[in-house]
């Protein structure tokens, strides 16, 4: 499988702290890749570099061969890259449908072609909401929804970008056992249905091992291991450091 995303020698320092130190890995097209590691390993920092919220000190982030470090954050969605956030950040004063429509922003045509585009966007948003079991609450305000539903709304918003690369930041955090189980199936289904490649930061090891095609392990800002789930599971350094409890 060719690499859709290539992270090369990525380093970022905040003052005296090196959050990422020469991190390199590939994300193969069509795969679900797990990015794991203990708290403070640099996983979310890595996401923030890819989506350009952080400016790395050095290194390369290539998406389909194009250097993302030349982009500003608002160009990322236009490249068909979408992400969710560790702390679910829904637009609470908007309805579920409006939240999804914000994800359509870069795909709205300009000029006269914009005429009637709202209808097409709404139809597509309703389809995405339906696939995630949210169509019935499309007109409810996001404010006050249960946590599991809020996570799904954020996922729907990201899917409205029609991403070729979907970055999920701890999608299982805060979910119940049953919800995590369903989430695994949902991620596999959306990866297939939307033909999207997934890079997922996650602490829930059972979920990561079950659905990932490939796993990258970070520790203290460095790449500790990189390979298929079975190889990572058998890696003594990983077992000792991260998977001891599984």
């Amino acid at each position: 499988m060719p690499a859709l995303l290539t992270v090369r020698n990525l380093t970022i320092r905040f003052g005296g702290i090196t959050a990422l130190n020469d991190v390199s890995f590939d994300v193969a097209e069509g795969h679900i890749t797990g990015l794991i590691g203990p708290n403070g390993a640099g996983k979310t920092t890595c996401f923030n570099c890819i989506t350009r919220l952080y400016q790395p000190t050095s290194g390369e982030v290539l998406f389909k061969g194009e250097d993302l470090l030349r982009c500003v954050p608002q160009q990322i969605a236009g490249k068909r890259i979408a992400r969710t956030f560790q702390n679910v950040a829904l637009f609470d004063h908007m309805s579920v449908l409006e939240n999804a429509l914000v994800g359509y922003h870069t795909r709205f045509p300009g000029g006269l072609a914009a005429w009637g585009a709202e209808t097409a966007a709404t139809r597509e948003a309703m389809d995405v909401l339906d696939r995630l079991g949210l169509a019935g609450i499309a007109n409810r305000p996001a404010h006050g929804l249960p946590f599991g539903l809020r996570k799904n709304v954020e996922l729907a918003r990201a899917l409205m970008v029609r991403p070729e690369l979907l970055l999920l930041d701890e999608p299982a955090a805060g979910l119940s056992h049953d919800e995590v189980s369903a989430l695994g199936d949902t991620i596999k289904r959306i990866a297939r249905d939307f033909s999207t490649t997934v890079l997922m930061v996650e602490h829930h090891m059972a979920l990561v091992m079950r659905i990932s095609d490939h796993i990258v392990v970070l520790a203290s800002g460095k790449t500790l291991a990189d390979g298929p789930p079975d190889a990572v599971r058998a890696n003594p350094a990983v077992i000792e450091a991260y998977l001891g409890a599984v």
């Binding site: 919220l53 979408a82 908007m94 914000v102």
Partner: protein
């Protein structure tokens, strides 16, 4: 009874002007979390532009339309040139900048047009309107109609357009919005433009009543603060309802409570600000924000 109906309509007319300016304040507050103290002066300055255009022979409605466009462009330019450099500074810095704008714009208006009070042509008929056997001022009814149309258009813009949705998103979570492809900086500038245009409408609507001078909007701004606080400083609907309620209450108090009269109307508005902040700080339509510390 006729007198009461007239006073209520007159109060609604004043209230819709407070509502427009309060809405302008709320637009900026939602986008930046600050009160724009220059909002009233911007409205005053653009009203002078409208007056200047009428002096050049433009019909009042054409001057009105042109001024709204100029106000929008001016608001956008002001944000890009003056506010953007301090956008990432703390909120107090931005507030101080708006206070600086307040003084500068007031001084500029005095320098350009002088401090002598000028009459401003009303865009409405001067003969009273007979509705249900009661004579209402056409100015009052006209102001209400224009304000309702303005507020309706603003509401449609935010609810039904891509840009309106993006502006609402950018105001709440700039970082997340950026990643979704929204140009947050420009959304902020558009917010200033929109607020400035709405403010210009309020200025043009009230100028025939309070006359034109560089200090004409200062008391109106206090009423708009009171309206925004009453409705909930983050709520556009609250700003409108707050403005209308305030307009009617202040007008009825001023007319029927002898102790208040004309002189203490502004004091009554300030009292409303204090009482609302003490009793219901989030206002009628606002939400209490809980912050993790």
């Amino acid at each position: 009874m006729h007198d009461l109906a007239q006073q209520i309509v007159s109060g609604l007319a004043q209230g819709s002007i407070f509502a427009s300016l309060a809405l302008a304040l709320v637009l900026i507050y939602r986008a930046m979390g600050i009160i724009n103290f220059a909002q009233g002066e911007l409205a005053m300055f653009t009203t002078y532009i409208a007056w200047q255009l009428t002096q050049m022979g433009l019909p009042i409605w054409l001057a009105f339309a042109a001024t709204v466009v100029v106000a929008f462009a001016g608001g956008v330019a002001l944000e890009r040139i003056v506010i953007r450099p301090v956008e990432r500074a703390n909120q107090l810095t931005v507030v101080i900048v708006t206070l600086g704008l307040f003084i500068s714009i007031n001084g500029l208006a005095g320098w350009f047009w002088g401090y002598i009070v000028k009459a401003f042509p009303t865009p409405f008929p001067t003969t009273p309107l007979q509705l249900g056997g009661v004579a209402f001022s056409a100015q009052d009814v006209g102001v209400i109609v224009v304000s309702v149309i303005t507020l309706g258009l603003i509401s449609l813009f935010f609810q039904k357009t891509k840009l309106g949705l993006a502006m609402r998103a950018a105001a709440l979570y700039p970082e997340q919005s950026r990643v979704l492809g929204i140009r947050v900086g420009w959304m902020l500038a558009l917010g200033w433009g929109l607020a400035s245009a709405v403010g210009a409408i309020s200025g043009i609507m009230i100028a025939p009543v309070v006359f034109l001078d560089p200090n004409m909007m200062q008391s109106v701004l206090v009423y708009a603060f009171a309206a925004a606080v009453l409705g909930g400083i983050e709520s556009p609907v609250g700003a409108v309802v707050g403005g209308l309620v305030l307009g009617v209450v202040i007008n009825l108090l001023g007319t029927y409570v002898e102790a208040i009269g004309n002189e203490l109307r502004l004091a009554a508005a300030l009292a409303i600000i204090v009482v609302v902040l003490l009793v219901r700080p989030a206002g009628l339509f606002g939400h209490v924000t809980v912050q993790r510390v």
